[in-house]
C-alpha cells in the first residue's frame, strides 16, 4: 500500500514569492494534517482536516497561509507571500480518524528554503 505522498521534496524561493505544497494521503484515511517542523523542534500542527472540513486551523497563520482539501482526498498548502521565517520542513500526515485512531502516518515532507 502506498504511503503518504508529498511534492515537491525540496523548494527554494525568494522572500515575497508564493509557494504551494501538495499531499496525497493514504487511501481511506479521512483525517489529514499539515505540520511545520523547524530545525531542532518537533512537528507543530498547522491544520487538520476531517474529510473536506478544516476542524482545527487555530495554528495556521491565516494572513499568509491557506489550505484546501477538495473532495476530501489530496490537499494543498499555500504560502503567499513567503517570509524568511517560513523556512522549515512541511509535513503532511494522515490517519483513519476518530476515537482510538491516534496513529498518524507521515509523508517525507517538503523542505522549504526562503532566501
Amino acid at each position: 500500500e502506498a504511503g503518504v505522498v508529498q511534492s515537491p521534496r525540496y523548494k527554494i524561493i525568494e522572500k515575497k514569492q508564493p509557494v504551494a505544497f501538495w499531499c496525497n494521503p493514504i487511501s481511506g484515511h479521512n483525517t489529514l494534517y499539515w505540520y511545520r517542523q523547524n530545525l531542532g523542534q518537533g512537528p507543530e500542527l498547522l491544520i487538520r482536516y476531517e474529510n473536506e472540513e478544516a476542524v482545527d486551523d487555530s495554528q495556521l497563520p491565516k494572513d499568509r497561509f491557506s489550505a484546501e482539501r477538495l473532495k476530501g482526498v489530496d490537499s494543498t498548502l499555500k504560502i503567499q507571500p513567503a517570509e524568511l521565517g517560513d523556512s522549515a520542513v512541511y509535513l503532511c500526515a494522515s490517519s483513519l480518524g476518530g476515537p482510538g485512531q491516534e496513529t498518524q502516518y507521515f509523508g517525507p515532507g517538503t523542505r522549504l528554503l526562503v532566501l
Binding site: G42, L91, E102
Partner: protein, 113 residues
C-alpha cells in the same frame, strides 16, 4: 507553553546496550502517548504507543513505561542496534473532541557499533 518536553537533545549508546529516552508532560488529560522514529530526509514513523490507563507496553525490543504521577514516560530499546540511530519524538494525544497530538522536540540517538 511546551506541554511535551524531551530534555535530552541527544544520546549515545554502545551497540547491544540499553537505550533509555525520556519524556515529560504537563497535561494530565492526555489519553495516549506515542513514540515516533525519524530518519534523515524521511517523515516520522510510528514506533509504539501506550494508553494513559496502562503503565507499560512492550513490542519486541521496544518498551514504553508510563509514570502518571510523575507525568513521565520513557522508551527503552534493548538491545540497541546501529539501525536504531535516529531522532525519536515523544508525542501526547488528547481527545478534546478534536484529537490533538503534541510532539516533543526530539532526542537524537546514536548507537555505536
Amino acid at each position: 507553553d511546551q506541554q511535551v518536553k524531551q530534555n535530552s537533545p541527544s544520546l549515545s549508546v554502545q551497540e547491544g546496550r540499553i537505550s533509555i529516552l525520556n519524556c515529560d508532560y504537563t497535561n494530565s488529560m492526555f489519553d495516549y502517548f506515542l513514540w515516533y522514529k525519524k530518519y534523515p530526509a524521511e517523515g516520522p514513523t510510528f514506533l509504539i504507543s501506550i494508553s494513559s490507563i496502562k503503565d507499560k507496553n512492550e513490542d519486541g525490543r521496544f518498551t514504553v513505561f508510563l509514570n502518571k504521577s510523575a507525568k513521565h514516560l520513557s522508551l527503552h530499546i534493548v538491545p540497541s542496534q546501529p539501525g536504531d540511530s535516529a531522532v525519536y519524538f515523544c508525542a501526547a494525544y488528547l481527545d478534546t473532541g478534536g484529537f490533538k497530538t503534541i510532539f516533543g522536540a526530539g532526542t537524537r540517538l546514536f548507537v555505536k557499533a
